[in-house]
Symmetry: C2
Subunit: 425 residues, 2 copies
C-alpha cells in the first residue's frame, strides 16, 4: 500500500465534499487502487469553520502547506485567478502534483502553469475543471487519443441549463426564473459569470485545446450569454422542433479553429437536447470513434470532489514513475477561423407591422445578403408586432448581422429582430 | 520518445482498423503521448490476405509473436474462448502487456487470466471489450474510483438496438428486420449470440464486476433476448410513453447483486431511450457523482480499434513504472440476489376473448399474487383477441410468473400473455 499525502487549500463547497469522501471511502479507494489517500493538512483563510479533522493539521497559511516535506499532492480549491495562481505555482516549484478545479485560472494562465509543471516534472490534474463528475478530460486525453477531433460541443454550465429548462417547463421569462434559481442555490447572487457565458467559455477553451492539440485563448472565444433569450424564442423553438441550450462549441475546419459560446437551437432528437436542468453534457465527433456523448453532473460539492479524487489517484500513480513524460498540456496557438465568415444556420424572429407586403420587403433584404430561407412561419396575427419566424439555410454571420441591421431600420419593423444560431443539424 | 513495439494477433475487422489507425495517426499519437507505437509483427491464420505492411513481419504462428524479445505489447483480436486463451496466457507468461477486445473470454475465464497477469506483473487492457469506442472501462475504473456504485445499466449490443429501432421506425416485426439487419451487415448470419442477449451478458458481467468490486459470474446473469418482442409491444410501449431496449443491468441492494439482460421498457424521457440504431450507451448512478451517461459506437472496425489504441498507450505508460500495483481485476464472488424476489414493474399484455367480466377475472388472479395495477389500457375492440394492457406497481417476478401461468390457463385467454420489464422509472 502506497501512501499519498494530500494538502488541501481552500475549503468551500467542493473542499468540504472532498473531506467527506476521503473520510467515507478511504478503504474503498485503497482496495481499488492500492493507494492510501491521506489528508495531512487543510488550509483556509477561516479555519474556525472547520470541524476537528482528527490528525489533520489546520492552517491559514498556504505557504506552510507547500513547505511541508511529506506531501505528494496539493489540491487547490481556492478558485479565481489571484492567489490561486501563486499557490499552484509554488506547489509545482516544490515538485508536488497539483489537482485543481479552477477553470478560470487554467483558461487564462494555464500555459504558464503547465510550463512550470513540465520544468519540475510534475503534473496538474484538472478533471474537475470541466464537466464536474463527468470523466471528460480523461476521456478526451486518453480514451480518444487515437483520433483527430472534428468537433466538440456541449452544455458546460449547469446554471444556464437550469434556467433554460425552467423557462420552458414553466413558460416563464428569464428574469423570473433567474430569481427562482438564485433562491434554490442554482445561480449565484451575481450570476454574470454563468449567464453571460464566461464560465462556459473558460471550459470550452480548456476542452477544445486538448481535443484539437492547439491553444485556444480565452480572448479568441466568441461569447454570447442567455440574457436575451425570452420565452418567445423558447416557445417558437419548441413549435419548430428545437430546444435552446447554451453551448460551448469548438470545431476544426481545414486546420482552423472556431470556438464560441452561444445559445443555440438543437433539433429535439439531438442527444444534447434531452439534457435538462442542471445537468451537463458534451457531444463530440472524431475521425474514427464516431459520435460520442458524455453527460452527468457538472458541478456540486460531491460530484466535483469525486472528480478531484479520481485525479489524485491517477496522477499519484503516475508521479512515482520516473520514466513517464509529462502529459501534454502546452500547445501552439490555434489558427482561428474568422467567426463572422463561418456558415451557420439561423433562427430569426422579425417583429413587424401588420400590413401587406412586409414579407416581400424582408425577403428582398435577405436575398441581397445571400441569405436563403429554409423555413418560414407566421402564426395567426392577434396583435402587433406580427412575429415572422424564419430558419435560414447556412449563411455567414456577417451577412446575417448586416441584413438584420438594415431590416431593423425599416419602418415596417416594430421591435428589434432576434437571432439564435442553430446547431447539430 | 519511447518506442512501444506491438504484436497483433488476429486480423479481422478490428485488426484491419488497428493497422489503419496506427499507420494514419502515428505522429498524432506520438505528439500526444510521447509514445511511438510501432507495429512489429502481425499474425493471422491466413496471411495471404494481408497487404505488404512495410517492415512488419507476417506470420501464421502466434508462438513466434510471443517469443519475440522486442515486443512490449500483444494485441489479441482472434476472439472466442479457445486459442485466444492460450495466446493471452502465453503472452502474459512472457511478461507482455496484453490488449484485447475479447468479452467472451474475459467474462468466462477472466479471473484465471488476471491471476496470471498479476503473477507476472503485467496488465490486461480491455477498454474495447465493452462499449467499443466509448471510454467506459476507464471511466468506471478511474473516473468514478471515489464512488460506490448503485446501478449500472445500458444498451450494450448494437445489433439488437438496431433491430429494435428499425422495428419501431418501420413498424415491422422482428423476423423481417433481422433479415434486413443481416443484409446490411448489422447482424451475423447466425445472430444467436446477439439476439439472445449472450453478448450483452458477457459485457454486463465484466462491467458489473469492476463497478461493484465483486466477480459477477456469467452463469449468474439472468439472460433474456429480444426474439419474443413483437411490433405489438413496440407500439403499445410508444402509446404508453415508453421505448423497448435490450438492457444489460447490474444493481446492488444491501450488498447483494442483481445482474440481468432483458428487454425493458424505458420511459421516453430516460436518457437511454433516445439511443437509437447501432449506438450503445451506459447509464450509471453512484454514491457521489450523480447519474452519468456515456454513449457512442459500441462496435465496428475503427471505433473498436480506437479503444484498442487508447489501451496500448495507457498500459504502455504504466508498464514502465516499476512502482505501480497491477490494476484490480480479481474480485471475490458477488453475493447474488434471488432474481425472482426483486421488485420490478412490469408491462403485461393479456390476449382475451371479447366477453363481459374478463377484466374482473384477470384482476382477481393478479390480486391473489399481490400484483397491483398502475395503468390499464384497452383499445377499442376490432377483433379477438382483445388486447388488455397493464403496467403493474413493483411486484416480484415469481409472483408475476405464477399469475401469468394461472391466467394463461383460463378459458378467457386466447393467446399466451406477454410480459416486459419496466426500467428507469
Amino acid at each position: 500500500m502506497k501512501s499519498v499525502n494530500i494538502g488541501l487549500i481552500g475549503v468551500g463547497t467542493v473542499g468540504s465534499g472532498l473531506i467527506q469522501i476521503l473520510n467515507q471511502n478511504r478503504e474503498l479507494i485503497q482496495k481499488r487502487t492500492g493507494l492510501d489517500l491521506t489528508l495531512k493538512v487543510v488550509c483556509d483563510k477561516d479555519t474556525s469553520k472547520l470541524k476537528d479533522l482528527g490528525g489533520v493539521e489546520l492552517t491559514q497559511d498556504f505557504h506552510s502547506v507547500i513547505n511541508r516535506g511529506d506531501l505528494h499532492c496539493i489540491v487547490e480549491l481556492v478558485g479565481g485567478t489571484g492567489i490561486a495562481f501563486d499557490i499552484i505555482r509554488d506547489a509545482l516549484l516544490s515538485k508536488k502534483t497539483v489537482i485543481t478545479a479552477n477553470k478560470a485560472l487554467l483558461s487564462e494562465k494555464g500555459t504558464e502553469l503547465f510550463k512550470i509543471a513540465n520544468e519540475n516534472s510534475v503534473e496538474i490534474g484538472y478533471e474537475a475543471a470541466v464537466g464536474g463528475a463527468i470523466p471528460l478530460i480523461r476521456s478526451v486525453k486518453t480514451g480518444l487519443v487515437a483520433n483527430q477531433f472534428k468537433s466538440i460541443y456541449g452544455i458546460l454550465n449547469g446554471t444556464t441549463n437550469f434556467i433554460l429548462s425552467k423557462m420552458e417547463e414553466e413558460n416563464l421569462d428569464y428574469e423570473l426564473v433567474l430569481k427562482k434559481a438564485q433562491e434554490l442555490g442554482f445561480a449565484e447572487k451575481d450570476p454574470t459569470f454563468d449567464v453571460e457565458g464566461i464560465d462556459a467559455a473558460h471550459k470550452i477553451s480548456i476542452l477544445g485545446s486538448i481535443a484539437f492539440d492547439c491553444r485556444i485563448k480565452l480572448e479568441n472565444v466568441y461569447v454570447e450569454g442567455i440574457t436575451k433569450i425570452s420565452k418567445t424564442e423558447i416557445n417558437f423553438a419548441k413549435q419548430l422542433g428545437y430546444r435552446i441550450k447554451l453551448l460551448g462549441i469548438c470545431k476544426m475546419t481545414d486546420g482552423h479553429i472556431e470556438a464560441r459560446v452561444n445559445p443555440a437551437m438543437l433539433p429535439l432528437n439531438h442527444p444534447l437536447a434531452s439534457i435538462m436542468n442542471e445537468m451537463n453534457a458534451v457531444y463530440l465527433e472524431t475521425q474514427f470513434s464516431g459520435p460520442t456523448m458524455l453527460s452527468g453532473k457538472g458541478a456540486g460539492s460531491l460530484p466535483t470532489a469525486s472528480a478531484i479524487i479520481s485525479d489524485i489517484a491517477f496522477y499519484s500513480e503516475r508521479a512515482v514513475s520516473k520514466d513517464r513524460e509529462n502529459e501534454k498540456n502546452i500547445f501552439q496557438d490555434a489558427k482561428m477561423l474568422d467567426q463572422t465568415e463561418t456558415l451557420e444556420r439561423y433562427y430569426i424572429r422579425f417583429n413587424t407591422v401588420d400590413k401587406p407586403g412586409v414579407l416581400a420587403i424582408l425577403a428582398n433584404v435577405l436575398g441581397k445578403y445571400q441569405i436563403s430561407i429554409s423555413t418560414l412561419r407566421q402564426n395567426e396575427v392577434v396583435k402587433e408586432p406580427v412575429e415572422v419566424i424564419i430558419i435560414t439555410h447556412p449563411a455567414k454571420e456577417k451577412d446575417i448581422r448586416q441584413a438584420l441591421e438594415e431590416i431593423d431600420r425599416l419602418n415596417v419593423i416594430k421591435e428589434q429582430s432576434v437571432m439564435v444560431r442553430i446547431e447539430g443539424l
